[in-house]
């Protein structure tokens, strides 16, 4: 995407990537020009055009305040590329994958917190030996579910160029997270089954992979 050029959308340096792709004259005030530079922007716009269509994206951007348009373009590009990679589920497979990781981590956290609680309790005096034997071991299913509070949504984008939207504060994330490979979940067919369940309001399945195997952090991939 755009790595140079002012946000004033002047087209003195030739057509922007979007107009280049559309093979049309890039006018002053072109809504796409600040976000799709002449070189790599055309490739990114191709994906956006294929999934959303130029006029739909133009309308979307017109309804977004100008200082938010850079973020909107990045998220639209991300969704378009996710949809081209996975024409059936698009971004939904990524969401399902992350939800599974959240549940897995929460389960592990509950277990470790319960274990910590037992370590911190004062040790009771040894019980007299009885014929009934020791109590049954604590099962993960007996543990309370820790539900973390919803965190404030953090924007994940950084301006692609420092000349974009100068009013913006620096943001915490550098890159868009790439779509994880199916190998982190256990195969694309399993992921598709989870995505189907998610779309139809089903539960995340209880038979999650044990902690430390399927719950690895998503790979941070610099978006192409």
């Amino acid at each position: 995407m755009s790595s140079s050029g002012s946000p004033s959308s002047s087209c003195g340096g030739g057509p922007c990537g979007a107009c280049k792709f559309l093979r049309r004259k890039c006018v002053a005030g072109c809504i796409f020009a600040p976000y799709f530079d002449s070189e790599q922007g055309a490739a990114h716009f191709a994906a956006v055009h294929k999934v959303f269509g130029a006029s739909n994206v133009s309308k979307l951007l017109q309804h977004v305040p100008e200082h938010k348009r850079a973020d909107a373009v990045v998220s639209i590009c991300f969704e378009a590329q996710a949809r081209l990679r996975d024409p059936i589920y698009g971004c939904v497979s990524h969401i399902v994958s992350l939800q599974q990781q959240v549940v897995s981590l929460q389960t592990e956290l509950s277990y470790v917190q319960a274990h910590l609680a037992t370590l911190e309790l004062p040790q009771p005096p040894p019980a007299p030996v009885t014929s009934s034997g020791s109590p049954p071991p604590l099962s993960i299913l007996d543990l309370p579910t820790i539900t973390p509070s919803l965190y404030e949504l953090s924007p994940i984008f950084e301006p692609m160029s420092s000349t974009w939207t100068m009013q913006q504060q620096p943001r915490p994330f550098d890159h868009l997270f790439g779509v994880p490979s199916s190998s982190t979940i256990g195969g694309s067919s399993e992921l598709q089954a989870l995505a189907r369940d998610f779309l139809h309001g089903g539960q995340i399945p209880a038979d999650l992979p044990p902690p430390g195997t399927g719950g690895s952090a998503p790979t941070v991939v610099k978006r192409e």
């Binding site: 998220s75 991300f78 956290l109 994330f173 995505a195």
Partner: protein
């Protein structure tokens, strides 16, 4: 021609042919679903996308498109990427808390 138009053809104000690509997935009982998809993707793009998919996968594709379109309507700036961001933040914070709790366990074990 279908005696009852599907939600897509009703929205587009056109006749609903027997082989309408939208009719299996957009029943007339849910007009909002197609309205959302049309607003974000456009009928032509959705039709092309569905035509390129095997028939048995089209229902799922429509559901995921509908979900993403609804997210985009609700949040025009981030769409469903906002949900991804929220989940990633949740994962990071839970991982941090887990690491801290595991460290506490180690300390308690040693004392």
């Amino acid at each position: 021609m279908n005696p009852k138009r599907c939600a897509a053809c009703k929205y587009l104000r056109r006749k609903c042919p027997k082989d309408c690509i939208f009719s299996p997935y957009f029943p007339p009982s849910d007009p909002h679903k197609f309205a959302c998809i049309h607003r974000i993707y456009g009928a032509g793009n959705v039709s092309k996308m569905l035509q390129q998919l095997p028939v048995q996968t089209r229902a799922e594709a429509v559901e995921s498109l509908s979900f993403e379109a609804k997210c985009r309507v609700d949040d025009p700036v981030y769409g469903c990427v906002g949900i991804i961001s929220l989940l990633q933040t949740q994962i990071q914070k839970t991982q941090t808390l887990l690491a801290k709790t595991q460290a506490d366990c180690c300390c308690s074990n040693q004392t």
